[in-house]
Structures are given as C-alpha cells and as structure tokens.
Symmetry: D2
C-alpha cells in the first residue's frame, strides 16, 4: 500500500493551472448571465487566480487568453502576477472571434486570412517571451458546417503549413500544445477533431509539439484514459484542459459529471509517471461557470483534481499488477475501486494544514468575506467575458 | 404507384412556416458573425419571410419570437404580413434571456420568477389573439447544470402548475405545442428532455396541448420517425421544428445532414395522414444560418422539405404493404429506398411552373438582385439577432 | 444529518433480486467463454442465488427465465428455493429465441406468431401462480433492422392488442413490468425503445402495468435518474434491471462503469420513497459476467447497489433542500457530492456483522471454498447458458 | 461536368470484395436465425460469392476467414474460386474464439497465449502465399471489460511486439491491414479503438502496414469521411470494411442506414484518387444478414456501393473547387448535394448492359431460380456460421 506521507509529498507539489477566462462572465449561445464582482481586466483576473491559489496552495499559475487579456505591457502583467503570488502560464491565442475567421483561421481558403492568424500566433509567442510562459495552447475553431463547404484535404495542407511557421518560431524552452475537439463551433467537420489528427500533426512538427487533451472534447463514450495512456507512452501528452461534461463540451467543473472517470485519468497519469514535474504534463482547467460563482467554483475544481489525484496515488500498484498478471479480472478491478472508494478528504485536510492552509478551502473562502469585497470594489467598468 | 398529378396536388398545398429569428444574425457561444442586409426589426424579418414565400410558393407564414419581434401594435404587424403576402404563424415566448431566469422559468424555485414567466406566456397569448395565431410554441431552457442543484420532482410539480395556468388561458382555436430538448443550455438535466415527458404533460393538460418535435433535440441515434409515428397514432403530434444536425442541436439547414432521415420522417407523416391540413401537424423551420446567407439558406431548406415530401409521396404504399405483410425484408426496404432514390427535382420544377414560379428558386433569387438590394437598403440601425 | 442507525435499519431490509441467467455462461455474438462450476439446471442456478444471499443477506429472491429455467414442476422449484433460503421472484418470458420470432413476437406481422407469443406469456403467468411471483418482466426483442421492413404504427397496434390479452390474465396481486430498450437485437427501430413508449402502453393497460428501467437500455447521455424521478412521481416505476455500461447494453456489473450515476439513481429512489417496500419498486440485477466468475461478480454487484444506497441514505436532505430553495448551486451540489464521497464500507461491514454475516462477503466467499466445491461437483451435463 | 462515359469507364473496373462469412448464418448474442440454402463449407461460400459477382460484375474476389474457411488444401480452394470466376482476397485471422483468448490474443498478459495468436497469424500468411492474397486483415477482439483489469500501456507494448513479428513475416507484395473498433466485444477499453491507434502502430511497423476502416466501428457522430481523407493524404488508407449502422456495430447492408454518408465517403475516395487500382485501397464488405437472405442482400450491398460511387464520380469538381475557393458555403454544398440527388440507377443499368449483365441484378437473381436451387441442394451437413 502506498505510504501516506509519500502521497502527501506528491500532492504538495501538484500544480493545477487556472484559466483567466473562467473568472469572467460566460454562458451559452442563449444567454450570458451576468454576475457581480467580476474582474474588469487581466490584472483583476490574475488577482482572482491568486485568490484560488491562496486557499488551495496548488494553483500557482494562470493561463491567459489573447486578446481577452491583452495589455499594453506584459512585463507589468507578469510582475503583477508575481506580486500576487502566481505566475502566468500558458498563452492561448484567439483566432475565432474576428469576422475574418468566419470560414476558419489557419485552414481558411483565403491566404490573407491564414497569414493574419499566423501573425496572431507569432505575437502570442512574443508575449510568451516576456511572460516566461512555456506553453502556447493552440485551439482552433476551424471546421465546416456543411459537406462540400471546403476541401478537407486542402485544409489539412494549409494547417500543416501554418503550424510549421508557428512551430519554427518557438523558443528553446517553449512548446506548442495542439488541442483537438470533436465539434463546436463547426457542426459538420472539425479540422483537428481527435487525438489522432493532433498526434499526426505533432509528429510532423517535431518534439516541441505535444497533444493537449481537453476532457470535454470527445465523442460520446470515448475512453479518455486510454488516450492518456497512449500519449504518455509515446511521449506526446502535453497536458490537459480539465472540465466535465454530460453531453457535449459542457465545460462544467472538472469531476462534477463523472468523478470515477477523472480518477481513472489521474491513475493513468500516476502509472505513466505524469506527475513528475519533468514529465512535461500540464494540468490546466478550462471551464465555464455559467450559473455558479466563479472563484468558489474554481476552488472546488482544484479540490476535485486533488481528490482524484490522491485516490490515484492510493492505488496499490503491486496488488494491481499481481492481479492483472494472474488474469484475475475481479480482483484487479477491485484494487482500483478500493482506492476510489477511499474518502481522501481527511488526508487532504491534513495536507492543507501541513501547508499552513485552512483544511476546508470553500468554508474559508466564504468566511473570508472576499466575495462581498470584490462585489463592492468592482463596480463600474465592463465585466470581463469571452468577448473582451 | 402514386399518381404524378396527385402528388403535385398535395405538394401544391404544402405549408412550411419560416422562423423570423432565422433571418437575423446568429452564432455559437464563441462568435456571432455579422452579415450584411440583415433585417433591423420584425417588419423587415417578415419581409424576408415573404421573399422566401415569393420564390418557393409553399412558405406562407412566419413564426415570431417575443420579445425579439416585439412591436407596439401587433395588428399593424399582422397587416404588414398580410400586405407582404404571408401571415403570422406560431408565437414563441422567450423565458431564457432575462437574468431572473438563471435557474429556470416555469420551474424556477422562486415563485415570483415563475409568475413572471407565466405572465409572459399570457402576454404571448394576447398577441396570438391579435395576430390570429393558432400555436403557442413552448420551449423552455429550464434545467440543471449540476446534480443536486434542484429537485427534479419539485421542478416537474412547478412545471405542471405553471403550464396549467397557461393552458387554461388558451382560446378555443388555440393550441400549446410543448417542445422537448435533450440538453442545452442546461448540461445535467433538462426539465422537458424527451418526447415522453412532453407527452405526459400534454396528457395532463388536455387536447389542446400537443408535442412539438424539433429534429435536432434528441440523444444520438434516436429514431425520430418512430416518435413521429407514435405521436401521430396517439393524436398528439402538434408539429415540427425542422433543422438538421450531426452532433448536438446544430441547427443546420433541414435535410443537410441526413436527407434519408428527413425522407423517413416525411414518409411517416404521409403514412399517418399528417399532410392533411386537418391533421393539425405544423411544419416549421427552426434553424441558424451562422455562416451562410439567410434568405437563400431558407429557400434551400424549404426546398429540402419539399423534396423529402415528394419522395415520401412517391412511396408505392401498396407494394410496401404487400412486402411487409409477406415478411419480405429486402423487398419492403427496397420499396422505400426506390422512392428515395428518385430524382424529384424535375417534378418540383414542373410544380413550380404550374404555380407560376421560377422552376429554380435559388437561381431566381440570385438573378433577382434582392440580396444586393437589402444590403444597400439596410444600413444603419441594429441588425436583428437573438438578443433583440 | 441522517442517523446512522436509521440508515442501517433501511439497508437491513433492502431486497436485491438476482437473475438466474447470470449464473450461466454468457458472452457476445463473437464468443461465449465457458467457465467451470456452472449450474446445469434451474435448481443449481437457484443454489447459486442462495449462495449470493448467504454472503450478502440482501438478495433473498431470484428471477427466472422461461424456458431457460423450464422445469416439469414449478412447485418443486419453489420449494427448492425455499429450502435454499430464497424465493422465486420475477418471471421473464422469452419470445426471441424461436425461429418463428425472426420478425418479432407480439408485433409480428403474422397473427399466428403473435398468438404463439401471447400463449407463452400466458404460460408464464401460470408459472407465476405456482411460484407466487408478483412480476411478469416483459422484454421484447421486437423491432426492425431496415427502414420500411414493417409498419411502425401497425406494430404498435399489434403490440397494444397482444399486451391487452396478457394484462387481462394477470391475477389480483400480479403485475406486468414493461421494459424498454434503445436497440439490440433490432438495429433500426425497436418497438418499445424508450420509457415514453413503455409508459404510454402502461397507461393504456391499467395500474398493474408498470415501467421497468434497465440501466443499460438508453441512448448515450440519457439522464436515467430523471426518468426514475418522473416515473416515481407518476406512480409507474415498476422496478429496475441493474447493470452498467460504457457503450451499449454492455451488461457489466452494476456500478462498475459509473458509480456516481448509480448513486444519483438511488438518491432519486430515496427522495421518492422508493425504498419503502410498499412502493412496489423491484430492484433486480440483469447482468452478464462474460469473463469474470459469476458468483463473486454477483456478490460484488449486490454490494455495489448497497453502497450506492447507503450513500443515498446519507444525503443531508434538509441541507439539500435549503440550498436548493436558496438557489445556491454550489452548495446544493456539494451536499450531494459529500454523501457520495463518504466511505460507506465501514458502515456496511458493521451492518453485516449486525446481521450475523461476514463483514467482507468477497473474502468470505473465497475462504469458503465454495468455488472449488462446485467446480468439482458440476462435472458432466450441459452448463447453463442463454440457449438453455 | 464529369463525362458520362468516363464515369462508366471507372465504374466498370470497380472491385468490391465480398466476405465469405456473410453467406453463412449470423445473428446477435440473443439468437442466430437459421436460413435455408446456406453453404456448408468454404467451397460453397465461394460459390455464393461467385453468384454475387455473376449478377453484379464488380465483385470478383472473396475474403476468407480462418478457421471458419479452413480447408486441407488452399491451392484447391484457390482453384475452385478461379473456376467459379472469382479469386480469394483478404485473409482474416480469428483470434477471438478459442477459450485461451478470454483475456485477449496479441495483448494477452500470458506470453504463451500471445505466441499462440502470433502463430495463427503466421499460418494465415502461409495461406496467403498459397492463395495469392495480398492483404492480411487484422481485427483484434482484445480489450478490457473493467477498469483496472489489465494495464493499458503494457497491452500496447505487447501489441507492438506481437505485430512486429507478424509484419516481418509479410512477403514483398503482402500487406497488413490493421482494423480498429470502438467497442465490442470488449466493453471498457479496446486495444485498437480508433484510427489514431491503428495509424500509430502502422507508422511503427512500416509501409506495408495500413489502416483498415470498418464503417461501423466508430463512436456516435464520428465523421468517417474526414478520417478517409486524412489517411489517403498520409498514404495509409489500406481499405474498407463496408457495412452500415444506426447504433453500434450493427453490420447492416452498406448504404442502408445513411446513403448520404456513404456518398460522402466515396467522394473523398474520388477526390483522393482512391479508385485508382494503384492506390491500394481495398473495398471490402463486412456485414451480417441476420434476418434477410444472404445472396440478394450482398447483391444489393454491392449495388449500393456502386450507386454511391457513381454519384461521387458525378460531382462537378471544377464547380466545387470554384465555390470552395470563393468561400460560397451554399453553392459548394449544393454542388455536392446535386450529385447525390441524381438518380444513377439508369446509368448503372446501362453500364450493366454494356458489361453483358442484366440491368436489374436483384430481379435477375430472383428470376434465375438460384435461391430455390441451393435450398434444394444444400440439405444435410452443418450450415456455415461464425463458429465454423
């Protein structure tokens, strides 16, 4: 059985990145419900990320989205983050919200639009140079709504050429994480719909290109932990965008829909050495808190990843291997299930106290009065959202 | 074999209703791409619907959405429609775009919010009285994002009570069409997720409550024509919201994703007598033309429904019944497939000429210069969209 | 917070029915892997069910399948069960394994086949009279593989007529549980594909007809607990066939694929009073242990239902209602999640000891040497399977 | 617009391979319905394949399945095929019907089982040497039913090693086609679940390893033509197993569920040059005719592929490219749709007459009296099925 203090040791160094955009307002195509106390700019979003880190202790970086988080001076933004106790993590370019991108960005039939999109990616790498970010998160909304609308093959050709230019601009310590998505906003074909397409492009590009797994971006029934195991084995798992879903890309809090699945994913990470900081696996959240308050939802999400990780670390791998090699289906399954059935909340409370944190981050956040404070302070100005 | 002129006779009286909101801008949660020549108000939307009818001859009514189509004088709007050659069809209340509806409308835990929503429904019936509309289209965005968020049963109770008030207000010739939807915008549970739930409420309410089938609102793999056959048999098929989808509620042009499915649906309509005007089955479009021009997309959609209907009318029902009763699987299937394989475009061209229309509505529309005309005219003002 | 001893009190009276056929060999269309120690007839299957009950204490009845469990004297079979410490539960007719049923049973276009199928149902009710069974479990393999193969409506008509005859034969204390299934073995349309169809037939038939929910028989993404809540509210939830699935009707051990879903289902049961013996909700397993040993798999399955039930009973319903009424999404969800996160294995170990059972049924079974015993005894004869 | 006689020229050389096993009895896990006139051995199955070719003219080869088609002398079998007017095509090993394969074949934790499975593959290559077959079709039933049952990564390791041995044995002109499957018979994880996994293994193995696309083996909603376009572009599309499905791996007649999808797939083949005999794309059927007669079902299936191909060849690629490059979504889509809407049955009737065939293969088959003949002749002996 895994040693309790060793488990705590690993959990203590866990690093879960929050996304700046999850602190702004979001919604569906039907409605964005406005909340109070929402940040008005990138600085305030970083403050919120720092708040999440202050209560959880394991969320020391925040991903930014350009131009939603565009500022005139990124060194100042990085310094602001540092002062707040966090760092700027992955940079996420946005090539889907300009009218020019109606028919795609890197895959657009118009070369001028492709150049524009590539240009934005290059600017984002410039930003990374300033913020010291390692990862360029590449998600493309490119795709087709109708059969025949464009040539699937020609779009792959354009994608390959566009990504090459971006890849070649990456610095020595920088990486490109290529995200795939089953559908949405394109409704017939997506230009990078599955891990296989992302993997094939990464192979073409080189070792600094890695696959990014967003847990909500799969066909119904897809076994995500299988993909995780495969990509780890191939050395091409760049990281995660964590969230959960019942139907499509619901972007609910990670672990909220199927905690057992999250545990299985984290178990494959543990089995494959992916918690080792040198593994290069980035653990990032990518969620929308459409109807619930943002900061506590993100605290809860970080805790959900922690709980799944703790359970994964508690798997008795010796017993598991023994049962697997004996072909004992029920016993092997039971070893996994036993770890999942364990209540790890006491262990995590203990860990937090070891780290000088409140054992109950949600209660502590509520007691802190922080929500009332930002509601009072953040009056006037435009609340952040997906459009800005 | 069905008689060609009898088929044309039925097709001549077909009635496909267009939705006012499909003429405005729409998009996904990621982006609404603006188009030119978009109507600025309900009057201009009705003009666009009239344009679709002018080129197709079978789209003589337009559904409205309140408050997106709110005007100060609905009699004037009805008269405007009449002058343009169309009528106002179904009225669609909107109880999902007010901040009060964050946790639902008719199912909201707060009775004040439920009263507000019911009030809006009653106002819509007032509008129906003025416009002479028969159908109140009830689609609710109500649902839950997280397990435990609210009581599923309590919400059903509230729904029942709220719908009762609305139902009781319906006039003699008016109906309530209760739409169901598998998911979106709610991501864990929808309060009317399937035809069974809608049907159960309709049974409770009375004969003026009918089920509305939106072809994009089902779980993957659902056999929609089965539902259509069942509801027809039970006398509870109020009508359709037609569109097509590959994944979720994609709202693509009807027939664009799976024309064979549309044909099978229309075949069940033909088999069940649903084309008879007395059947009470309303054939309405409900689509989003996010990246393609609206008016030609709607002309094409109307034509797609026509083509599917024509093929359904060409099914050799005697041969079909004979093969079915003989248990001849291949022959029975072949009878259906043969009708589908038939190219009905010549028949429809002929029908249009009989009706004094151009045999090729899309080409005629392009030749008409109408697109350039509205692009030039509709400058200034706020283009219509889902928000207004 | 729920009282620990009250929770144990409810769990003590829980009644989970095992299926005789799960003790026989099963497999996929590709292969049935034979196991050793498999029962050769209905008597030995009942012995195995009694073994599961002996170790778990909450599985006091066994469902039978006719003709797989056909015997010459059902009174003798019932007495055998009684002697072994269990009773015979639901009777499951089989109208899908005779060549006559190629095109269906109760819906077959040939009236002679329909009569034959109805006759088999009536025989099963005769058996129920002898065994004292309350429930006739009706699952039909009826459906279509190809569009047009038969008339969907005509089949509904035949189904209605056939079920009527069966229903009218039910005794005062007997019920018909009408199961639905999304697909398989029919691949285009199933004659009872969803809860709505089953519910509509039950309404036609009368109060002794109830819907049977097999947890594996839904479209991908279907919210099963919603259906459970709805049917309870309508008084039409007859019971469950429990199993779990990742893809189709995988028939894995209940709780093995998504334990959180099972917990949510059992929570709706608890909220709706469905654990009350007078509620009429039957909790039955319906599984296939294709590659794992049968008896321990069933013990584990019973335990999985127990664990989900225990967690459901631990939901703090006062706190839940308070949070729901306040519209506090995160808190309401957290109340549910907290119950799920609880490790109920100690509570259940304690319950078993209270009941005079070993606290660890799986370990006790392995220690008992029972597996070796039946492997040695059950040599010769034909191992039971789906065909016999 | 494509030239009618050029289109016929391509269709004339089309080559669609039938599967020997589709002539035998098949069914679901619930029941195999026996038919009359079923072949009793590999020779009679080849006779049936020759019958399909005789009526269609484009099915000149038949795939075999070992050991279902095991004979003592494969040269004799090849000669029998030649005499009947066809050749033996792909060889399909079977490593899923021996009790040893309960936990997998090439991925089994037991090295002895892996060796046995590899040995069977090598024997199949020996057979290919004799029959002159080019393709070894590799489909594995390997996978897991329960989380934890075995190590996903270790199984990939074993798979890689096992395939390497098989690959290295391939002759100069031989290929390995590696099929993937989403699920079934494994219900939690499949060892080659998607095209990405197959592609990754093919890359490791070398140029003679190619991906085999079975149209029924995907997650719901998967865009198959996208995969086809991608693999063609990468030079790794080995071929197809054609069939159709509404739900899972239904194995219905190709084109029966979604003829528009089949057309889109064939269009990508045409766009990507995949009809060129040098392209190396094998077009094979893999179906189960559970309730319909086998030979006419296969004739119909061949015709369905022909019709889809004819429509794909009729796409006006110049007009398509022009519309695509102009970003004209509706026009580009309309070009594709117009080809699909064309009734190609007259063209194909003409082609058949050019080839000296009856223009209506199904009617000709029925008139031929062949069904009655084989019903009369094939009495006694064991009808072929999946087990033999």
């Amino acid at each position: 059985m895994p040693d309790r203090s060793a488990v705590k040791g690993v959990l203590r160094t866990q690093h879960i990145e929050t996304p700046s955009w999850a602190f702004g307002n979001s919604g569906t195509r039907f409605k964005v419900f406005a909340q109070e106390g929402i940040p008005r700019d990138a600085f305030e979003k970083i403050d919120d990320a720092a708040t999440v880190h202050r209560f959880t202790g394991v969320a020391p970086s925040v991903a930014v989205h350009i131009p939603w988080d565009a500022v005139s001076d990124y060194a100042e933004l990085a310094q602001h983050a540092k002062n707040a106790g966090v760092t700027i993590g992955a940079v996420n370019p946005n090539v889907f919200q300009d009218d020019d991108y109606r028919l795609g960005s890197l895959c657009n039939p118009d070369p001028a639009v492709r150049r524009k999109a590539v240009g934005h990616f290059l600017e984002c790498i410039d930003i990374m140079d300033v913020t010291g970010s390692r990862d360029l998160s590449v998600w493309l909304a490119d795709g087709l709504n109708y059969p025949g609308q464009d040539s699937i093959s020609a779009r792959q050709e354009r994608l390959e050429e566009s990504l090459r230019v971006v890849y070649d601009r990456l610095g020595e310590q920088q990486r490109m994480l290529l995200e795939y998505k089953f559908f949405e906003p394109a409704f017939y074909a997506t230009d990078v719909p599955d891990w296989g397409t992302s993997y094939a492009h990464c192979l073409e590009l080189g070792p600094k290109a890695q696959v990014l797994v967003d847990t909500g971006h799969h066909a119904p029934g897809t076994n995500i932990e299988f993909i995780v195991a495969l990509l780890r084995r191939k050395g091409r798992l760049g990281g995660f965008h964590f969230n959960s879903r019942f139907y499509a890309d619901d972007d609910l809090m990670v672990g909220a829909a199927d905690p057992y699945q999250l545990f299985r994913i984290m178990s494959e990470i543990v089995f494959g050495g992916g918690l080792d900081p040198n593994s290069g696996v980035a653990f990032m959240l990518d969620q929308c808190h459409n109807i619930e308050p943002k900061i506590p939802a993100l605290i809860r999400s970080v805790m959900n990843v922690q709980e799944a990780t703790a359970k994964a670390l508690l798997v008795d791998t010796d017993a598991l291997r023994t049962a697997q090699q004996a072909g004992d289906v029920l016993d092997a399954n039971a070893v996994l299930v036993d770890a999942f059935a364990t209540d790890v909340r006491p262990l995590l409370a203990e860990l937090r106290e070891d780290m000088g944190l409140d054992p109950d981050p949600i209660a502590a956040y509520h007691r802190s009065g922080h929500a009332a404070k930002i509601r009072a302070e953040r009056v006037g100005g435009a609340a952040a959202g997906w459009g800005a």
